[in-house]
């Protein structure tokens, strides 16, 4: 326990040192404030926006968009991954089409999406959902297809019904791959949201950054970037936690 804490503490030494040096260089005028504001300026901006309530509101808006898109795109991707993993008919019918759509970079659709939805919430939800759909679809499908056929055969000799086979063998077998897809999707989720909010939004962190840029408030711009980074890290940590809890059986997660 103590060792773990010390390990974690060591990991924070370097970032702290960098912030310290950065602050010092700013104070001595080596780094100009209009290029990169000092950490203390960013901290002040953070405090001001926090007190005014603006910051939490924007974080709330961005998080809701991110999770909304993840739930919609993730659910569709998961459902289609299951269907195509379990049914050859379904796979023959839809997989080629999906693979074709996959080759279109979803961010390239932004002009089209703005024409369709304007800069309303639907635009952001649509882009995030589209972005997270593919990693979840592809990895769910892959996970099901790579379930050990020997285990499936074993389950059949014990007379498992299709439902039981799915619940006790196929789904747990596909889970590690599904988690890989989820974590990859989380990365895409934030990336998509950053781009979408920067280009077409009237609220959210990206919008906050763009507005600050117009008024040359560099401290707020840097703050926005840091908050995106923290949100991304937080989402990944939560996913890792769920992964560790549900994959306890996996040798890779034992004894940690």
């Amino acid at each position: 326990m103590l060792r773990q804490l010390r390990g974690a503490a060591i990991g924070w030494l370097l970032p702290l040192a960098i912030i310290f040096v950065w602050e010092a260089l700013s104070r001595f005028g080596v780094i100009r404030a209009h290029v990169l504001p000092a950490p203390s300026a960013v901290a002040t901006a953070f405090w001001k926006l926090l007190v005014s309530g603006e910051l939490l509101e924007n974080i709330g808006v961005s998080t809701a968009r991110a999770l909304g898109g993840l739930v919609i795109g993730g659910a569709i991707g998961f459902a289609l991954g299951l269907a195509n993993g379990l049914s050859i008919r379904s796979r023959e019918l839809t997989d080629t089409t999906l693979q074709m759509i996959r080759n279109v970079p979803h961010l390239a659709l932004i002009p089209l999406v703005i024409l369709w939805f304007g800069i309303d919430e639907e635009a952001k939800l649509f882009l995030v959902a589209l972005g997270v759909f593919f990693p979840i679809y592809v990895n769910t499908l892959l996970g099901i297809q790579t379930v050990d056929p020997q285990l499936v055969e074993m389950a059949k000799t014990y007379g498992m019904s299709r439902l039981e086979l799915f619940r006790r063998v196929i789904l747990p077998g596909a889970l590690p791959s599904i988690f890989v897809g989820l974590r990859y999707a989380l990365g895409i989720m934030w990336l998509t949201l950053i781009v979408a909010e920067t280009i077409a939004a009237q609220s959210g962190i990206g919008h906050m950054a763009m507005e600050a840029r117009e008024f040359l408030m560099l401290d707020v711009v840097v703050l926005s970037i840091l908050i995106y980074a923290l949100l991304g890290k937080l989402a990944d940590s939560i996913a890792r936690l769920f992964e560790r809890l549900s994959l306890q059986w996996h040798p890779a997660y034992q004894g940690r």
Binding site: T157, Y158, L175
Partner: protein, 262 residues
Amino acid sequence: MTELTFGQGFALRDAAAVPVRTAPGLGFSFVGVEKRFGDQRVLNGIDLQVPAGQFIAIVGKSGCGKSTLLRLLAGLDQPTSGILRHDDVAAATSTRMMFQEPRLLPWARVADNVAVGLNGIASGVAARERSLRLLADVGLADRAGEWPSVLSGGQKQRVALARALVGQPRILALDEPLGALDALTRIEMQGLLERIWLSQRFTAVLVTHDVGEAVALADRVVVIKDGAIATDHAIDIPRPRRRGAPELAAFEGQILEDLLGV
């Protein structure tokens, strides 16, 4: 540690509470069974009658169709022609199969893996109790709560044996279940298998590469050659059999000759 306890654990239970057989072994017969894969003919008219409760071993060269025969018996495949007849048709589904690999579910604890064998037979507390009892029989009572990945190869195979037995099968098909184990663990497992068979009296069909194992365990050894049964030996030596006894060695020599000879 557990390797040692299993012998004692079993000896204790053996005297006190031999599991009560509700259903003795089930007899079956293959009649003119053929199996083709494409135009490759693997089984070429198998005729084999196995009475209830017999321990039969099947030997033959690699690729001669032993696994194919067992898969037909376990209902994993259908014969191209010919029939497989069970003495009691309704009980045909009570055949259990033990594979060369343990095939345990990595995401289920050891006891839950054993309980897979009770699928459709018992569930909940009753299933748990029966699973734990079988785990004790194979000497793994203290490992019930572990993940399969921490067990040794021999222990995994013992869990697989417990899973196959927990539903009280009337036929147990074993496809080289001990092939991957080291010599010592193998002999230990053979003893365990024989003791359990003696107390439960299911019909046992053992496919093995090891002729010594076949003559040590089985009442009868059949040799498969060119997709049919070439020879059929009754091993009429009383149990307990002593490993390396001259009578066993004589059978072993004969069967090896059948296997190698032209």
